[in-house]
């Protein structure tokens, strides 16, 4: 396939994914994340009533939850402390976290049933069951400072690529990193993968930074290739030849990173899985952006810069004579 057709195809596909992602964000009012959700809390007193029966209490709660067809995402055990002295009150709480798709009234019904069950099983116990609907509110300063940090890092890396590997590499790398960031975010907007609320923007940043890093590795090989060819090959041939040589170096880095993410995702708990497995998305997107998209963007830019560099142009008789004499 000719580069022009390739670039058009990549651009159209990327644009479609990004536009669909934007529409999905607009329709659902944000990313469909798995962690923001409602909590069912069971407070109990360990000192007097439930001492040594904590596990049985948990089993009771969980049997009620599963009997109602509900599934919790996470479970945590917490101590309740005195607010002034931080002393242990002897009270404990089991916190079950549910996804947003679980209706509040379903949880309230479950809470009522748990309350009835534990009251009958532990008649003297001081147990309190409650439902809390939570809505995470991002701390905006941290979010925009993070976005600025990633943007500055991307610009700095592009400037470095520009100085080291030329204008065409810098521009194409920067465009590819922006596309990778948008595509990574769009994928999470379109596919409701179980991810944390902060994840879409973080993964978009990871996608951009990975793209620039991989493009830098490829840039080193392209530079050597361009030097060897010294303008003999066309821009398209030179870039394609350099990329063929350089792709394996990118994969040298990408494959172990992917393997580590996969290993962490598969070995770890559900919660850590939700962090590491989705991180494969920006990694794959950045491979596409660095190995295929950026080169196809680079070819027309390099074509222009090469034509300026290698094509003869009129410089005037005096200057030409002077150059000839030298």
């Amino acid at each position: 396939m000719k580069n022009k057709a390739k670039l058009t195809l990549f651009s159209i596909l990327s644009a479609i994914v990004v536009i669909v992602g934007i529409v999905m964000v607009a329709v659902f009012g944000g990313f469909r994340v798995a962690t923001d959700g409602n909590r069912l809390e069971v407070c109990y007193d360990t000192v007097i009533t439930i001492s040594g029966k904590e596990e049985a209490l948990e089993n009771t709660c969980e049997s009620v939850i599963s009997s109602r067809g509900l599934k919790f995402n996470g479970k945590n055990n917490a101590e309740i402390l005195e607010t002034q002295s931080l002393g242990d009150t002897g009270d404990r709480v089991i916190i079950y976290t549910f996804s947003k798709s679980v209706e509040l009234n379903q949880l309230q019904a479950a809470a009522t049933q748990i309350s009835e069950r534990v009251t009958s099983e532990y008649p003297d116990a001081d147990i309190y069951v409650s439902v809390k609907a939570s809505e995470a509110t991002p701390i905006n300063t941290a979010a925009w400072r993070g976005a600025i940090a990633l943007a500055v890092a991307a610009v700095a890396a592009s400037v470095y690529i520009g100085i080291r590997y030329g204008f065409a590499s810098a521009v194409s790398g920067f465009i590819a990193s922006v596309v990778a960031g948008l595509l990574s975010a769009a994928v999470f907007a379109i596919i409701p993968l179980p991810i944390y609320s902060y994840a879409p923007l973080l993964y978009a940043g990871i996608g951009s930074v990975f793209t620039l890093f991989f493009w830098m590795l490829l840039g080193a090989k392209l530079k050597v290739s361009f030097k060897e060819e010294n303008g003999v090959l066309s821009a398209e041939e030179a870039v394609n030849k350099g990329c063929r040589k350089g792709r394996k170096y990118v994969l040298f880095f990408a494959i172990p990173i992917a393997a580590a993410m996969l290993l962490f995702g598969l070995l770890a708990t559900n919660a850590t899985r939700m962090f590491f497995l989705p991180a494969l998305v920006p990694l794959l997107v950045s491979l596409f952006a660095a190995m295929w998209f950026a080169p196809s963007v680079m070819i027309p830019i390099k074509g222009k810069t090469d034509s300026l560099k290698f094509n003869p142009k009129y410089v005037g008789k005096k200057k030409a004579d002077a150059e000839q004499q030298q």
Binding site: C43, G74, K75, N76, N77, A78, E79, I80, L81, E82, T83, L86, I95, L104, Q108, Y128, S130, V131, K132, A133, S134, E135, A136, T137, I139, N140, T141, A142, R145, G146, I148, A149, L150, V152, A153, A156, A157, Y160, R164, L202, F213, M216, L217, A220, F252, F253, P256, I257, A259, A260, M261, L263, F264, L267, A268, T269, N270, A271, T272, A279
Partner: protein, 499 residues
Amino acid sequence: MGKVKSAICLCAITLILAVLCFVCFVPFPTGSGGISYYNPIINWAEKSEDLGGFQFGGEDPAYIGGSYSIMLYPEGVISSKEYESNLRILEGDDRTEYEGKYTAHAGGALYLSNEDVMDGGRVTQKFSTSFEKRLELLKERFSRLNTEGTSIEVVNDYSVRVTMPASTDVSVASFLYFGYMGDLEVSFGTDLESAGRIFPETNKPITDYMKGADTRSMNGTQYVVLHFTNEGQKLISTATATAESSGGTLFFTVGGEQVIGLSVSSRLNEKDLYISGDYSSDAAKILSTVIDTSVDFASDSELGKLEMGELYRNQAGFGKSALMFVYLALAVSSVAGVVFFFIRYRRLGFAHLYSFLFFLLAMLLCVWWIPTLTIGMNTLTAFILTAVLLSVSNAVAFENARKEYALGKTMTSSVKTGYKKCFWHLFEVHAVVGGIGLLIWGIALSELSAFGLTLALGALFSAIATLAFNRFMWFVMMSLAKNQGKFCHFVREVDDDEE
């Protein structure tokens, strides 16, 4: 290097790494009965709010990691638990009267005061707006504190849950002070109740008297620095004129709650007032943030306090066994990486093993020693990326040397030329990764900032490990090998002409 010197060097390095590995990773009992345990550095290192684990030893071992979370309630809002426990002790008319004071909200999860919050069965617009403003102020305060792992959630529409990692020792102080909202006032007297207000005067904003507050550190002492306008300075000076003879305390209150009580024994006439009260840097930051944001949000002076409710000490947010599985995944991926090197390069794999151990120990010691770093998903991700960088860099160096050796060069020459060919490329990659890490650390806040710092440190140690330590270990081990090519699993290219 001679064989004896190499052997001594190798033994010394092995011993140092073994001792460090033992100190960093191996727990062992220090007394009889299994009560006292030595906890390795990996157990001491702070864990994030998502990860956490118990230390060894004792009947009630310390829990490292996890988080503190607090429920904050605006005036007129109480939890269902509080409502029901209050109701339980009331009978007859008192009970009916109490029931009439509140309306259940969110299916009975919260109870809203009919007097302060409700009007005609609906939450008043004034209360909703005021709650939104309180939330904004709270978010602003916590963002200025810039503590990794802090999160704020709105619970059941009209209460707030703030979660901070247990690794920070100021979480409860910030929960308390950041809940103080409303007018900032300065008064002078012997006690808060009888103290006379200095400013603001009626119908004048606090910004006429104060510019703000920040913190300074001088000679190890932390100061809260209050900045006054000319008018504020003049009024303070006038009010404290009698301090030399009778003494007194300068009270700074927010919404009627005391934030700072400064004992004064002489007239104060400074535009920038430095207050030291044996504050830690975090405590000074909390107090200055409360005062500074109260000046910045002066137009919202009628906001009420957010009262502290239930305080939880949460175990790891990712679950009890998350840390163990993360360690397991780390161990498996590290072993897999090292095994690859042993398969491909045979005994040269030891050079990679030593450099990887150097990198691992350096990173762990940094996370343990640097207060802003904890073992969390962000630092782990940065660690994985830089560990891959180290492994790939070592492989690139080995492959370059392998190619040179195949051409017929001596091993010493192959290593030298192999490294020469890739040194600046590897240095460049490490410098760029480290630079990106430093930029992110400098600009971003909280988790991303810690990720940036870990990435920069990882790039630094990976560079040292691959460009210096790995080469040195190769050099040392090579001196001890009888057949150097076999040692590294390097083979010469078969010469076709000779065949």
